[in-house]
Symmetry: C2
Subunit: 365 residues, 2 copies
Amino acid sequence: MAATTKLDYAKPPPPLKDELDIVIPTIRNLEFLEMWRPFFEPYHLIIVQDGDPTKTIKVPDGFDYDLYNRNDIKKLLGPRASCISFKDSACRCFGYMVSKKKYIFTIDDDCFVAKDPSGKAINALEQHIKNLLCPSTPFFFNTLYDPFADGADFVRGYPFSLRDGVPTAVSHGLWLNIPDYDAPTQLVKPLERNQRYVDAVLTIPKGTLFPMCGMNLAFDRELIGPAMYFGLMGDGQPIGRYDDMWAGWCIKVICDHLGLGVKTGLPYIWHSKASNPFVNLRKEYKGIFWQEEIIPFFQSVSLPKDCTSVQKCYIELSKQVKEKLSKVDPYFDKLASAMVTWIEAWEEINPPTSASSKLSNGTAK
Amino acid sequence: MAATTKLDYAKPPPPLKDELDIVIPTIRNLEFLEMWRPFFEPYHLIIVQDGDPTKTIKVPDGFDYDLYNRNDIKKLLGPRASCISFKDSACRCFGYMVSKKKYIFTIDDDCFVAKDPSGKAINALEQHIKNLLCPSTPFFFNTLYDPFADGADFVRGYPFSLRDGVPTAVSHGLWLNIPDYDAPTQLVKPLERNQRYVDAVLTIPKGTLFPMCGMNLAFDRELIGPAMYFGLMGDGQPIGRYDDMWAGWCIKVICDHLGLGVKTGLPYIWHSKASNPFVNLRKEYKGIFWQEEIIPFFQSVSLPKDCTSVQKCYIELSKQVKEKLSKVDPYFDKLASAMVTWIEAWEEINPPTSASSKLSNGTAK
């Protein structure tokens, strides 16, 4: 509304301003946004309110947002709302589904602006956008890390034919202060803080799985969105705190299959508060055992050549989950069905366009 | 010779003092050692003099060393000396062969002590030793990098069964100032300097190849020594500057097969001088084409289960090189034969002991 000043002319517009949504799952007032205001205010927020839908969530003035509570989710998805977790931050994936943008950044409400070693506030979103807009290099490791970073390049011995890289689908950011540890490690090392600022972004090589944390994560919704399902956690489920892990395993095998890249490293956020390790242990308990079988399963997943879209890959993956993991626990049978429901809901909310049908003609590698 | 002072009691002995040799290939006087004196003086040096054997190489006083020139190599290996490159720093691998120690650190004579961001001189050797003495984690990626580093650990979602890790065979260090670029990149970016200090060590995942640089490299000779052959380069050969790359591809597929780890990252050295890009282009020329076929070859190499020792793996690899790469150029036929000669020479100089026969009963993965 203010008159345009000379300064405004000089300032470049925020990158991807109209192409990116910020998704925040929450149960509380969002004062944490105050600290992010300089970086987030130009963007649209999608707030997914978890728990009691009658509670009012306060959002600081000046932010542009849509807020969805459980009633909204049910209204929009009908019986398919069953695939969206309740009383667990896994509900955030509903925000991915209803977004109309190409890119998503998702962040937890206990994450604040971190500082780099020079003391400068880190614009996490800007770094994620950089990561997403430049290629990944999953087929060969570059020892100087991201070859597209300023002052870096491919080193001697890096095959020239691989230097184009592949499109980046996911950018996984890290956390200073409270590290993302499991309950047993939290119990054993209650005072450990992450103080190591590692100035690097790197592509996770093809064929390698990683523990994807949903606290500080960005992705290209058009490239990988339908696989970013955070599973069934929380209320009525036997497990919690594996929502992002599940999504991470799924997206990685699908990115590997479709020739897309996954990056990890910068940006850091400041993770303020350790969650209660006893509560966490209760949530994680079964997962600690199950992951020993789930990970070999994902390490050996092979998707057929005719899976040329994310949706097709995901439906195929759901079949393999049902077939191979149901014997671990009946939960995986339910999860496999929810994976199908998720895709049905995704397609209902996001009817195919010419762009997405173009994608489904992509080449599988 | 000096009387033991109180201070000496307080100082811990240099790590692995009697178990590590420092291998330096050179054609010039070794003044560069002055800067390394505080870190290297306690260790034994193996200097491999390249080029004219009548030239005298000056080594600063106080260092304990053996120096081998071309005449020494011929005397020791006889006709098998043909597998050791001449007029190329690839000759350094002769030093690996004649060492009697468990660990090797090799460094180029244009590499100096770098400083960390706090301005402290980096003891590169000490960091390599740390890397080698703690396990690697090649089967799953840890997003906080080396889980064994101070203040770090495995993150949430890292399978507990994989947290033992595997023995580390190789530690690949990096370079500040002059980055290790190929000739085309040197020509295009003559002024680029590496100023990014990335405070991380990481395991290169199983199944992923990397460009291994021989400038600043350490390894466990008992675990992987016989595969650290730097090939046929320099005088009389159609190629140069691929010695360390060749070794890197070979050791990686063998480490993957035997369940051993390869790390990259810290420590940094200060690489002082860019080599001439025109000379380099002449040396690299064929390699730029060949690597496009060599890398897919190594990516698809499969070693049979009965290859349970490094030597057996290496002989098997030589057969596959002969079979699959000779069609790229007759050079690979010669190289495959040299690989066999190298193993013969290695076994002659290092007759099997109970320790190494124990190794050959190890389990292949």
